[in-house]
Symmetry: C3
Subunit: 502 residues, 3 copies
């Protein structure tokens, strides 16, 4: 049997875990909006057409901020199309996904939905077919109180109070050849700078994110980040990272090292951002926004990727997640927590139906995919300070990794409530692991809950008819004695131990 | 007396001659549209205002595809100005030609005219003052069946069926300082790429042509093609060539070597395109579109080039062609045929009145210029495969050429009908030439027709009152015996021999 | 006592002093327009709402041309917002100055005001958020007689005759990071070129000014001018210079050498422009337009620089000028006159309230600041040829200058009227200066007037209640005998001696 030992001391803090790390993403793509969060006529829909069953699952999932309206979609989107009387909104071709966009859902509907879901919005502006002036107009429409053309236009649409949207993405994946209006690093660095300036002059207190590489595997990765930040360093708060994990060969050990690859990705982007800071002797630190991340490799081609014949809200990117995907999602969240000093935002892509933790049937029920669970647990329990751990564990070799730790773990301690949660992923394919974890300088405490997510079939999924096949259960072997947590972790299991003051 | 010998074997094929090589060009320029193809109130005009006499001549001329609406004009053109109710169309300044544009003729009128003339359209989009998004809107207006804003706009204008326009030019002569919104090679390579992407996503099966140099004599020639294609190689099918032959010094021998210079131009652009392919190890071959070509040097300055006082449809570029121009036009067509593997489109610029094979008097008759004839003959007879010939002939020295062949010739064989046509230009200034040509592997055949275009006065022209001064006549000295064509070619004569299965 | 000797010979001419050197500037900024030149309801306002008291002072000040509508403002300005029925004009956020722009004053109102003030307009186009096409539309609106969309739009707004605006600035301070839509030198060189082309094709006889550096202290100064002109050399007539003098340390001697620094600035930009000309072996000479200049350092931060809470026409940049500022303004004017061969335009920034020679109280009176006087005197008297002088004077060391001449002087001779004016600034802090000046080859003449501007308190200002504390008085010690002017110049005094044929 394997054994691992962890020391977590409340005095050794990496940083508070930003609540924005538990964000998600709603794009006008497939059935994420239409038939996902919005389905007038659905049995559970409210007066706004928001599905109540989906809202309930979202509240359980616990996303803190939701990116909107894209993604690739935004690079061809005219925000004006989605506001004002619904019967006057134009129908458009969505070139990004080969779909027809009716624009029956837009900015104001999304803001209403955010209120209903108690979620903060993260908006992206279109830097594909448009530029700084249109972004400014949109921001004025959203955030300016009144008395000007665009502010009064919003008010005439029934929204007297400004939406006060704070977090904005300056375009989406502008380095990607697939992107409408893709840019060179210089082009993007320039347009991001000029757009950011106009936005900041329009509204106070904005958080602005520049596009990093659309993937760590892009040939221009690194050079892109450096040149973009060299232009817009003074104007932005975040650089984005996009990461989709793939498992085409169904090699679970290789797949699990995606977690370590993400760690490298985070480390590398941090280094690049700080290199740009160094060049200008600046103490400013650019933060990281992992504003698209998930497992995605099955529904990624052909008619699952792009509509044929310009359908409305076709079933696109409807990835069905299994047990092993849940392990990777959990592990990736721990990596973000362990980089809490720089990873200040992240968006699980996406929220409903489209590579999503929540699935629906249009006109039917909604249910939780496997990846729902580690995300919900992390959002619920990872509150407070991420602690800088000492971890002794074994290693394995797979993929790009020569010595990947068998135990992936993180401990978050909340100085306000005294709660401390240890998350633990045993990456051994076949061996149980004995875990001992010292929780130092947190006072006397007791185990409040212990959960385990495990399934002997790594390909087990949740479906409409079997929605809880993969779901957390009470941990069978866990105890807290004299500040030392002991537990036995099943091979390929995800575990969450919450402790509170005794 | 000179003698030349040709061997043409049906088994040695360069490539089929693309029908698009016999294209022409209608620009909003001078009297090409207004008073040319379109003149409501003219005695021969139909209900659409299309001149019937011009249409009849065009059917005889035989252009297969016609480029529209420019040319320099397109770089300042808003397509929306030319659609919808005519009385609501705005009057604009046409900066390219110093004219006032009434917009009474536009996209839909041109499509109606194409149908009437049985001609395929080749549209250019404005990449001077506009970009990818407007090009996409225009394409959606033209080609999308319905159900979206722009498709439904077209339908509301009375065009229920999509126009289904396949061939598109990505701007016009963007390297030229005279161009509205001229671009550097990088700027143009980028905008062409992003425009092509949006267009391809909007409509299937497009043929897209990027702008090459506006002339082989541009200082940036070569470097321009390389950098532009380095950006947009994956997105385009064609690179354009523009070639206007000049004869300011009236040196007929130098003028005739323009044909060989065109050969070099074609060879050079082919090499550049393949060099870009090589760099990316791509088997893709970019084809050549000679989408503007003609003799043009007389009506090229002052009030013949540009309107004064912003007139409507002034007489601009009304070049009057003579006998020697017809020889150059014929020879250039043979060069294109002999590069049938790469020259897949070409547009004689232009169609009516403006550097054109057809002239009209506004309110009066229409007639054929000298250059009408070789073009009409080539379009009619150059059907099928261009053959790779063995040619023995003499040479002469003039212009840039040390050893220009006295005989310029091409043979096209149609495997379907069995017809085979030999075109022959004798470039000797003063000597007759005995031609013998073996037509191998084509079976027993007979001479179906033989025509000669010749005039002792090289400056002879066709006019309203003498419209047939320069016109083909039956060849006086031609015979086909045992598969060997024999003929005597007059000095500075253009000859066409068609043979068919016996 | 110091002594200086000047020789001015009517045969040694630098160049005629361009009347455009005595330009000024009206920006939509603070109270320059609203509450400055335009205040409907003011006791002196005419039917157009133009303040009569301000107009009277402007006629006395004598600006010949006035730049409009910005400045930083123009880089976010849509000209369409400011034309047409006033009740339909949109209210906009002015991002440049944090103000709300009601657009009740716009292009046509400005043109009416220019007529009332007998001043030529100098318009700037927006190259921040817009480009060549919109600039062309605007120019067509202003200058095209009629028969096209934009010309007829102007006519529909009540302006049948074209405004015929000749002098245009291609954007404003496009190198400044503070500028809406700032540009790199390449970006700006390109957009300026393409904009200039479209403008020249639209309207004949334009004078076009490209943006030079927004200050000589910009890190890109020099490189900017070279690269910009390398692009647009053939298309423009002027390169702009902006110069604001500062005196944060209240060191009067250092402050006075700003005049010499301006001399260097002019010399340097001339050299750069001629270097670009040299590269293309061009005899063309780019002229200099000092289209923003003044003393400005007090009201340059915080709420004096930028509105808080988006006020309408807040009191911004309301610099109060004192005696020493007037000396610097006078000296700077002499430097421009002494470079009359290249400095062909200049705009004192600005005209009313905003870093301005004229102050008003909204609803109250208007008065002259100290700097009003040297400007008014120079505009009135510096007519004709600037003469190339021989000057013997002492020097002093301060700021960047090792040997700054104590006497700053210029002589302008009008061959038409025979008038000749000598301007003299004694920069000695504490010594009087005996001036002798030979006026050669001007015939017999007499002293027509002699004025002195001096105040023992260098910080003396003019206010609403004491509007004439600093004002010129008759010179106490001046005479003209046998063509030799003799005068005693007080320390830190500005002196103007006008002579006319006897």
């Amino acid at each position: 049997m394997l054994s691992s030992h962890v020391i977590a001391d409340a005095d050794f803090v990496i940083a508070p875990v930003a609540r924005h790390v538990f964000g998600s993403f709603v794009e006008h793509l497939g059935r994420c909006v239409y038939g996902g969060i919005y389905e007038p006529g659905h049995a559970t829909a409210d007066a706004n057409g928001f599905r109540g069953d989906v809202l309930a699952l979202i509240r359980e999932l616990g996303p803190t901020i939701v990116r909107y309206p894209g993604g690739n979609f935004v690079s061809g989107y005219d925000w004006e199309d989605g506001v004002g009387p619904k019967d006057q909104r134009p129908v458009r071709l969505d070139l990004a996904w080969g779909s027809t966009e009716t624009n029956q859902f837009g900015t104001n509907e999304f803001m209403d939905w955010c209120k209903a879901a108690d979620i903060e919005p993260m908006f992206a502006v279109n830097l594909g077919t448009r530029g700084a002036a249109e972004a400014q107009n949109f921001l004025e429409y959203c955030n300016h109180p009144g008395g000007t053309h665009y502010a009064d236009l919003r008010r005439s649409h029934g929204y007297e109070a400004p939406h006060d949207i704070k977090f904005w993405c300056l375009g989406n994946e502008m380095d990607g050849p697939w992107q409408t209006g893709a840019k060179t690093a210089e082009e993007y660095g320039r347009i991001a700078t000029e757009t950011a300036k106009m936005m900041r002059w329009t509204s106070d207190g904005l958080q602005l994110a520049a596009c990093g590489s659309s993937a760590r595997t892009m040939p221009s990765f690194g050079a892109w980040e450096y040149e973009v930040l060299d232009h817009c360093f003074e104007q932005v708060d975040y650089i984005s990272l996009h990461q989709y994990f793939e498992n085409h060969e169904h090699e679970v050990d290789r797949f699990l090292t995606a977690i370590d690859d993400l760690e490298s990705f985070i480390t590398e982007v941090t280094a690049i951002a700080d290199a740009v800071a160094a060049k200008r002797r600046s103490p400013k630190r650019i933060m990281l926004s992992l504003d698209e991340w998930n497992v995605w490799y099955r529904a990624r081609s052909g008619e699952q990727l792009r509509g044929v014949g310009w359908p409305e809200a076709p079933p696109l990117l409807e990835e069905i997640y299994n047990m092993e995907d849940a392990l990777v999602i959990g592990g990736a969240l721990l990596t973000m927590i362990n980089h809490a000093d720089r990873v200040k935002a992240a968006c699980l892509a996406q929220l409903v139906n489209v590579i999503a933790p929540i699935m629906t049937e249009t006109g039917g029920p909604a249910w939780r995919q496997t990846i729902f669970h580690p995300f919900a647990q992390a959002s619920r329990h990872a509150r407070g300070n991420a602690l800088r751990l000492k971890v002794d564990t074994g290693t394995f070799t797979a993929g790009n990794q020569q010595a990947a730790p068998l135990l992936v773990t993180a401990v978050v301690h909340d100085p306000d409530t005294g709660a401390a949660t240890l998350f633990a992923l045993n990456r051994s394919l076949d061996e149980e692991m004995t875990l001992t974890a010292e929780l130092r300088n947190m006072g006397t405490r007791r185990l409040a809950s212990a959960d385990e997510l495990h399934h002997r079939d790594l390909e087990a999924t949740n479906t409409k008819d079997a929605p809880d096949r993969v779901t957390p259960v009470a941990h069978p072997k866990a105890a807290l004695t004299d500040g030392v947590l002991t537990a036995t972790l099943k091979p390929l299991s995800w575990n969450v131990f919450t402790t509170i003051p005794a």
